[in-house]
Every structure is written in structure tokens, then in C-alpha cells.
């Protein structure tokens, strides 16, 4: 008996070591031969992130200096906004409560705040819980910020219902609150003076415009039907709905403008909410197929992306947030269809947000491009909005743009700070 066990274990160990051996030698040869410089750069950049984490203060200081250098006298961010020519009446001190400091997304927001504070001559104290799910901690921070009597509070709420009482307190204490990144829909009247958040409809439209640019010749010369896919993580969250519909409606508009017919199929919500589709599924020149997974996991997004990508007539696909965009890439790891040469038969993949996986895929040309939100601009405008409110003027909500990025511009000074790992 024992001998049997030992022999089985030994043979298992041998097989394991064989496999391990194959694996590692294969790995090193692939590493030395493949991988263009750009994709090498991605892991290096992400490795640097935790190191800078250790000294956020010094990093913030240095980027402030760099940003000031890059943007000296550069007022185009304010042109056309209500903040043009805004001056702070006093050297206000604001309190800012972010969702957490851990992700580079929030580090980018801090950079924007530093830029604005430097330009206006105001100061702020930022705090945030250890993680975006530490809701109670964040409420405590918000409450103590209100007690401190700042000139205003910038808030990115982890949970939009938990902060309602605190917002009432802020209103009672006459502290104006500007929400950024995430709006609080049910905020007590008058407590939140303005919300600075991504215009998700516009962000979806940006994705559609750039995707259409890449595939319009393919659509024009197509002999049969072609299919454009969209994977939305869900059909319930407002920001995903807006992004998904922004993309669909813009795509319909663009396709129709070139004299083609279009039909929308797939998820019921998006099919019903889409506007302007004139074609029938069986006869339309272009089909926009919308897939929504049963749960918001990468695995299920992968399956949904595969169902669309597997179809012969699929020419392009959009993943409307980080999870679904990574799902496209995971599906592509089996299908190997994505690329940047639509005329040559590549399927054009467009993503949303960032993260090292998406950035790597864009840098090496697997993914055509993506839309990023701008935490930097949200932080920047939030400080301006607070200053204007503290001056005693009224402020309106300010939607920030989604920005297109691809292999060419992803390292630009305007884009790179927004692309978190």
C-alpha cells in the first residue's frame, strides 16, 4: 500500500518537474526574443507604483512642481468654463475626502488638486480611508472635516447613501460641498453646491467616434453584414448605461450618416434604449450587438466577449469599463483576432479606463485604443469649484470629458497622469 502511494507520488513529482522544466525554459526564451520595448515598459511602470506609495507626500510635491512647469501660463483648461479668470478672495483652506489613496487613480486626482491649489493660492488637506470599501471610516473622516470648519469640502463618496447625514450637517454648518468623481443623487437640498464627474455619455461617444474612424472603410466596402460588439458590465449602474448608450447612439448616427442601415441586438435594456436604429437584424448593413454578463466578473465578461468575437462578421468591439475591456483581452488570448489593422482583417478592440493590462495591450497594438476618465481634471476643477463657492458665488455641475488614448499619445503629459495601473 505504502509503496504504491510513494510510487504514485514520485511519478507525479517527476511529471510535475518535467512540466515545470518545459515551462520555465519556454518562458525565458520567449522573454528574450519577443516583447517590444513598449510592453516591457508597462510592468516597470507598475512596479514603480507601490514604491512611490511609500512616500506620497514627496511624490505629490515633485509632481506639483513638474505640473506647474508643464502648465505655466496654460489656461486652456479653464477657457469656456465658469472658472475663467477666477481668483480666490482669501487663501482658503479646504478639506478633501477621497475614496482612498491606494490606487493611482486617486493619485492622479491629487495631482490635479495640487495644480489648481497652486494656481489659486489656496490650500487643502486631503484624507481618505484605506480602501474604497471602508465606508464607515470615510464617514468619520467627513464628519471630523466638517467639525474642523473648512472653507469647503471636496468629497468623492465611497457610498452615496452613507454620507447623507453628514451632508446635512455640512449644510447646517454652512460648509459648501463639491462632489467629484461620484455624484450623490439624494443629497439634501443645498448641501452639495456642484458635482464634478465624468460625462459618461460623451465618453461613450468618444469611443464610438474613434472606432468608426478605424472601421469605416471596412463598413463601406463590406459585401455582407458586419457586426460591432459592445460588452457592458451591467445594465443597472447609471454610468455604465450612459457610456453604453453614448457609444451605441453615436455609432448609429455615424453609420447612418454614411448611408448604411443599422440594427441593435442583444441585451434588452440597451436595445430598447438605443435611438435611431433603422434596420432589421436580418437585413441591416451594420449590427450593433450588446452583451451583458450575468455577474460583473472578468470571467463572465470574457465569455460574452467571446460570443461576439467568434462571429465571422465581427469587425470591432468595445468594452465599456476596465472589467469588460479586460474581458475582451482575455477572450482575445484564445481567439487572436484583435489588432490595429482593420483593412487587413484585424478586429478593432476599444477599451475604457486603464490598468496595466489594458495599457500593455494598447502599447503593443493588440487594443486599438481606449477612453480614459480624467481623475486629474476632476481634482483640478473640484478645487476651482470649491474656491468659487467659498467666494460666495454660485457654481454649476461640471461634467469632465473622457479622453481618447492610444499607443501614440498615451505617454503625453495631458494623458499619462490619468492612466493608472
Amino acid at each position: 500500500m505504502k509503496k504504491k502511494v510513494v510510487s504514485v507520488l514520485l511519478s507525479a513529482a517527476m511529471v510535475a518537474s518535467l512540466l515545470a522544466g518545459c515551462g520555465s525554459s519556454g518562458g525565458s526564451s520567449a522573454a528574450s526574443s519577443s516583447a517590444p520595448a513598449a510592453s516591457e515598459a508597462a510592468p516597470a511602470a507598475s512596479e514603480a507604483a507601490p514604491a512611490s506609495e511609500a512616500a506620497p507626500a514627496s511624490e505629490a510635491a515633485s509632481t506639483e512642481a513638474a505640473a506647474a512647469g508643464a502648465h505655466a501660463g496654460d489656461d486652456d483648461k479653464l477657457t469656456g468654463t465658469e472658472f475663467e479668470g477666477l481668483k480666490a478672495n482669501e487663501a482658503y483652506n479646504f478639506a478633501v475626502v477621497v475614496k482612498s489613496f491606494q490606487s493611482t487613480y486617486w493619485q492622479a486626482a491629487i495631482k490635479g488638486m495640487d495644480m489648481a491649489a497652486g494656481e489659486l493660492g489656496v490650500t487643502y488637506d486631503a484624507q481618505g480611508p484605506n480602501s474604497e470599501s471602508d465606508i464607515a471610516d470615510q464617514v468619520n473622516m467627513l464628519n471630523s472635516a466638517i467639525t474642523g470648519g473648512p472653507a469647503g469640502i471636496g468629497l468623492a463618496a465611497c457610498d452615496t447613501t452613507s454620507v447623507l447625514d453628514s451632508l446635512q450637517d455640512a449644510k447646517d454648518a454652512n460648509v459648501p460641498v463639491v462632489c467629484f468623481d461620484t455624484g450623490v443623487a439624494d443629497a439634501p437640498d443645498g448641501s452639495v453646491v456642484a458635482t464634478v464627474a465624468t460625462d459618461n455619455t460623451q465618453a461613450g461617444e468618444v469611443a464610438a467616434e474613434h472606432m468608426y474612424e478605424a472601421v469605416k472603410d471596412v463598413i463601406a466596402s463590406a459585401e455582407g453584414q458586419v457586426r460591432i460588439g459592445e460588452v457592458n458590465q451591467d445594465a443597472t449602474a447609471l454610468n455604465i448605461q450612459q457610456r453604453g448608450l453614448g457609444f451605441i447612439n453615436k455609432m448609429i448616427e455615424l453609420v447612418k450618416a454614411d448611408g448604411k442601415t443599422v440594427a441593435v441586438t442583444g441585451n434588452e435594456f440597451y436595445v430598447n434604449a438605443a435611438e435611431g436604429a433603422d434596420g432589421d437584424e436580418s437585413s441591416a448593413d451594420v449590427i450593433i450587438e450588446v452583451a451583458v454578463p450575468a455577474q460583473t466578473t472578468v470571467e463572465l465578461c470574457t465569455t460574452e466577449a467571446s460570443t461576439i468575437l467568434s462571429k465571422e462578421d465581427c469587425i470591432a468591439i468595445f468594452g465599456s469599463n476596465q472589467t469588460s475591456a479586460e474581458g475582451l483581452l482575455a477572450a482575445n488570448s484564445n481567439l487572436n483576432l484583435l489588432g490595429s489593422d482593420a483593412a487587413g482583417g484585424d478586429v478593432i478592440g476599444v477599451g475604457f479606463d486603464a490598468g496595466s493590462v489594458i495599457k500593455g495591450a494598447i502599447a503593443d497594438g493588440t487594443m486599438y485604443g481606449a477612453v480614459t476618465q480624467s481623475p486629474l481634471m476632476m481634482g483640478y476643477y473640484m478645487i476651482y469649484a470649491l474656491t468659487k463657492a467659498a467666494n460666495g458665488d454660485s457654481v454649476t455641475d461640471l461634467p469632465t470629458d473622457g479622453y481618447w488614448y492610444n499607443a501614440e499619445n498615451m505617454n503625453d503629459a495631458e494623458i499619462a497622469p490619468n492612466l493608472y495601473d
Partner: protein, 330 residues
């Protein structure tokens, strides 16, 4: 005893027929489903569910359950991945840490259940919460990407999927099938021909009788949970190879795919019998539904409802089986 064995065998074969029918049905309805690439994609996510399911088969047979495997797997993948991606350690260190972490949580679960006598449902539910928090903490709340297949240290992807060529000409070979076949053969042997396996079944059939016959029940009870933890650790490596970025705070619900697979494959929810090969077949039912239903264009909500209904079917078979056994005076 003979009667029971026969019945387990029967359910296993029935389920195998269901697997073949499902595959045939999906292939006829959707020609995309029939593609090799779809099969390879399904296998990607089958590896980690199957590894979890093989592990959790042992606590299930003892009459317990391990709910911590889903969040546990993500926790170990986060921890190992953090070491590799952010601290620059070699991939094998991350993998080793992930597997050992799983082993330790398995021993912990075993001790809670066996020595402290906590109900397995509660003990492992607590571990589920703990591993969920611990995973986020270990990764410092970062979403953790393990090295990609083309990056240095990405060799572990090739344990499961070997890619030849690049770009549109690349072809993928699901070599994980061979690896899993070896693991399954070993675990079939462990369950049926070693003390650990046989006492696991004995504990599930009648714990008191097993104890009275002089078996150190506590140790073997711990062993069952340790195997479950170890396999959750192994699953975390397969998960890291299948998912581009491991997100902190996720993983809850994945254990249900594994447990569901084991139950569908004929492991008794009340303990006492089950088989590794049955679990293998059961997992394929779950995975076929998960992959196939989207391919035939079924809406997301229906996918969950149908998967739930299939599970009820399997549990009803189990209940009928027990009633029959009780009637037979067994």
C-alpha cells in the same frame, strides 16, 4: 454499501450523458460555440473551478462544506501576485506562497471544524470573510495583474495553455488538460485507496462509528479541509493564468460553481459518498451552462436561473438516493 456505490456510478453516467447532450445542443444552436477557440476558452475557466471542486469534494464527503475556497482562491492569487508584480519576486515564489497560503487556511478550517467543533458551514463562512479581507490587505487594495504570457515570469500560463505563434496566426493548445488529468488520477487514488480518502468517506457515513473503531477522526477531518485549502491554493495559480487582473474583494460566488459541480457530479450533500471523477463531470455541466448559454443568446438572468434549476435537480436526485438508502435499511 454495494447498493450505494452502484447508485453513485449511475448518477455519474447520467451526468456524463447530460454533458454530451448539452455540448451537442449548444454546438447545433450556435456554430460559434462549436469552434475550438470556444472550447479552449471554456477550459481556461474550468481549470480553477475544477481544482476547487476536487478539493471541496473531500469536506463535502465528510458531510461538511468549505465556503472559503472562492474568496480564498482570490486571496491567494492576490498575495502571490503582489509578491511577483510589485515586489519583483520570481513567479514560482508567488505560486508557492499562494499554494502554501491555501494549505494553511485549509488547516485552519480543519481545526475550527474538527477541534473546536464549529459547524463547517459557519466556520468556513467566517474564513470566507476573513480571506476576502485578508486578500485585499495583502495586495494593499491594488488590483493585481500577474505577469502576462509574453512578459518575463509569465511562463506559468504555459502550464495551462501553450501558445505557438503570435498575433492572428497564433494557436493555443490547452495543455492544462494533461496536467489536470494527472491531478485527477492522483486524487482518485487518494480518495479510494489511501487512509485519508477512505476515512474521509467513513467520517461522512458515520463519524461516531469511525471514531469507535479506533480511527483518529480529528486528524482525518482536518486532512479533508487541508486538501480543500491546498486545492484552492492550486486553483489560485490557474485563476491567475486565466484572469488578466485579480480584483481585490472579489471571489465570493466562485465557490458555488465548484460546490455545485461536485454536487451535480454525485457527491452527497449529506456526506458519505462521492467521487473525484463524478466531480469532474459535474463541473463540466456547470461550465458548459456558463459558457454555452451566452452563446445561444440567452439573457444573463436566464443563465443564472437555469444553472440554479440544474442544481436543484441534482440535489433532488441526492435526496431520493438517501431516502432509498434509508428504506433499504442501510
Amino acid at each position: 454499501m454495494e447498493n450505494k456505490k452502484k447508485f453513485v456510478l449511475e448518477q455519474k453516467w447520467i451526468v456524463l450523458i447530460i454533458v454530451i447532450l448539452l455540448y451537442g445542443f449548444f454546438s447545433i444552436v450556435s456554430k460559434e460555440f462549436h469552434k475550438t477557440s470556444t472550447m479552449v476558452m471554456m477550459l481556461d475557466s474550468t481549470y480553477y473551478v475544477l481544482l476547487m471542486a476536487i478539493g471541496v469534494t473531500f469536506p463535502l464527503i465528510t458531510g461538511g462544506v468549505d465556503l472559503s475556497i472562492g474568496t480564498g482562491m482570490v486571496c491567494y492569487a492576490l498575495t502571490g501576485g503582489y509578491l511577483v508584480k510589485f515586489l519583483g519576486l520570481p513567479s514560482w515564489v508567488g505560486m508557492l506562497v499562494a499554494v502554501l497560503f491555501g494549505l494553511i487556511v485549509g488547516i485552519w478550517n480543519g481545526c475550527l471544524v474538527s477541534i473546536l467543533g464549529l459547524p463547517p458551514f459557519l466556520a468556513t463562512l467566517c474564513s470566507c470573510m476573513i480571506t476576502r479581507g485578508l486578500g485585499s490587505m495583502m495586495a494593499h487594495n491594488f488590483a493585481v495583474p500577474w505577469p502576462g504570457v509574453k512578459e518575463p515570469g509569465g511562463w506559468f500560463h504555459r502550464i495551462f495553455k501553450y501558445t505557438i505563434g503570435s498575433g492572428r496566426k497564433a494557436s493555443n493548445y490547452p495543455v492544462g488538460v494533461l496536467v489536470l488529468a494527472v491531478v485527477i488520477i492522483i486524487m482518485i487514488f487518494v480518495l479510494n485507496h489511501t487512509r485519508i480518502g477512505r476515512y474521509t468517506i467513513a467520517i461522512g457515513s458515520n463519524k461516531e462509528a469511525t471514531r469507535l473503531s479506533g480511527v483518529n477522526v480529528k486528524i482525518y477531518h482536518i486532512a479533508a479541509y487541508t486538501i480543500s485549502g491546498l486545492f484552492a491554493g492550486l486553483a489560485s495559480v490557474a485563476y491567475a493564468a486565466a484572469v488578466p487582473t485579480i480584483q481585490p474583494g472579489t471571489g465570493a460566488g466562485l465557490e458555488l460553481d465548484a460546490i455545485g459541480g461536485a454536487i451535480v457530479g454525485g457527491v452527497s450533500a449529506a456526506g458519505g459518498y462521492g467521487s473525484v471523477e463524478g466531480t469532474l463531470i459535474g463541473v463540466f455541466v456547470i461550465q458548459l451552462l456558463k459558457t454555452g448559454l451566452p452563446f445561444i443568446g440567452l439573457e444573463a438572468n436566464w443563465q443564472q436561473i437555469i444553472t440554479g434549476l440544474v442544481l436543484i435537480g441534482a440535489v433532488i436526485v441526492d435526496v431520493l438516493k438517501q431516502r432509498k438508502a434509508a428504506l433499504a435499511g442501510d
